[in-house]
């Protein structure tokens, strides 16, 4: 009973935070609303008996990713987004997309609720750290290694992207580019 009440509380909170994220023009308010969504989803994972995923959700999403996003917002000193003339066309497109997706959601809920309900065995716990760790280092060893390499590539890539070229380097790049363009024109 308590878990039912908690589920609906956090589900409502998640939906309200998601709507407020899309509604706010200021990116900082959007980011704070998104943290609310992440935290309430972590609590919903707990009601689904997945404590490992819930903790990772808080650590990775609400901790690492959102801190990075807020850091970039502060660094770039962003204002509210301006209104553009394309908004009318975008509202039509987004509204149509939203209606189609909501209809699909309703259909899925209807179809799933008509199938005979699978009762959950309360003794079966699949979400504890022991099971996940065991599966991760036996069946899923190769994917976990690939994820590690991918994270390393992301670190290197973000450093390369965010690096500021020094003035001599920048002039060198521009000179090379100009040479290339003039050669193309001559040939």
């Amino acid at each position: 009973m308590v878990s039912t009440a908690l589920f609906f509380l956090f589900a409502g909170f998640a939906i309200m935070c998601a709507i407020s994220m899309v509604y706010h023009k200021n990116p900082l308010y959007s980011a704070i609303s998104l943290v609310g969504v992440f935290l309430s989803l972590a609590c919903i994972y707990l009601t689904l008996a997945a404590p490992f995923i819930a903790i990772v959700q808080i650590l990775v999403y609400a901790g690492a990713i959102m801190v990075l996003v807020v850091f970039v917002i502060m660094l770039l000193n962003l204002d509210d987004e301006p209104n553009t003339s394309r908004l009318k066309y975008l509202y039509a497109l987004g509204g149509g997309l939203g209606i189609v997706l909501l209809a699909q959601t309703l259909f899925v809920v209807y179809a799933v609720s008509r199938t005979p309900n699978q009762a959950i065995d309360p003794n079966v716990t699949v979400g504890n750290t022991l099971d996940i760790g065991r599966a991760m280092y036996t069946d899923y060893l190769l994917p976990v290694e690939i994820v590690g390499v991918m994270l390393l590539m992301a670190i290197v890539g973000s450093v390369v992207l965010a690096r500021r070229l020094s003035q001599p380097q920048l002039e060198l790049v521009i000179d090379k580019e100009e040479e290339r363009i003039s050669e193309e024109i001559n040939s």
Binding site: V22, I65, V72, M150
Partner: protein
């Protein structure tokens, strides 16, 4: 009313819809990025719900993979935003039109 699989799928679908509409409405690259994160989270909720109702740990491992990809995407994406802002003094996606002609 006890929450069942359909309830979790419904919540996930609503969050995915909000994220998808947000990607279209937002004109700000960071806002679009946050909406994509919301969509990834909606999919994660589906995985965890199925993992619970079929008593299978593989769904939760998939959530772990999705989170790793999201973390890598955040690192690279925010690097791109900083480089973009340095060139254009704005993060509005409408100003990213250098490839148009």
């Amino acid at each position: 009313m006890e929450p069942n699989l359909a309830t979790y799928l419904g919540l996930s679908g609503i969050l995915f819809t909000i994220g998808c509409v947000g990607v279209v409405f937002k004109r700000n690259a960071l806002g679009m990025f946050m909406c994509i994160e919301l969509m990834l989270n909606a999919v994660n909720l589906t995985f965890v719900a199925f993992s619970r109702y079929y008593a299978d740990v593989h769904g939760q491992l998939f959530v772990f993979m999705v989170m790793s990809v999201a973390a890598a995407e955040a690192a690279v994406g925010l690097g791109i935003f900083i480089a973009f802002f340095r060139n254009r003094q704005s993060i509005d996606v409408d100003t990213a039109s250098i490839l148009k002609n």
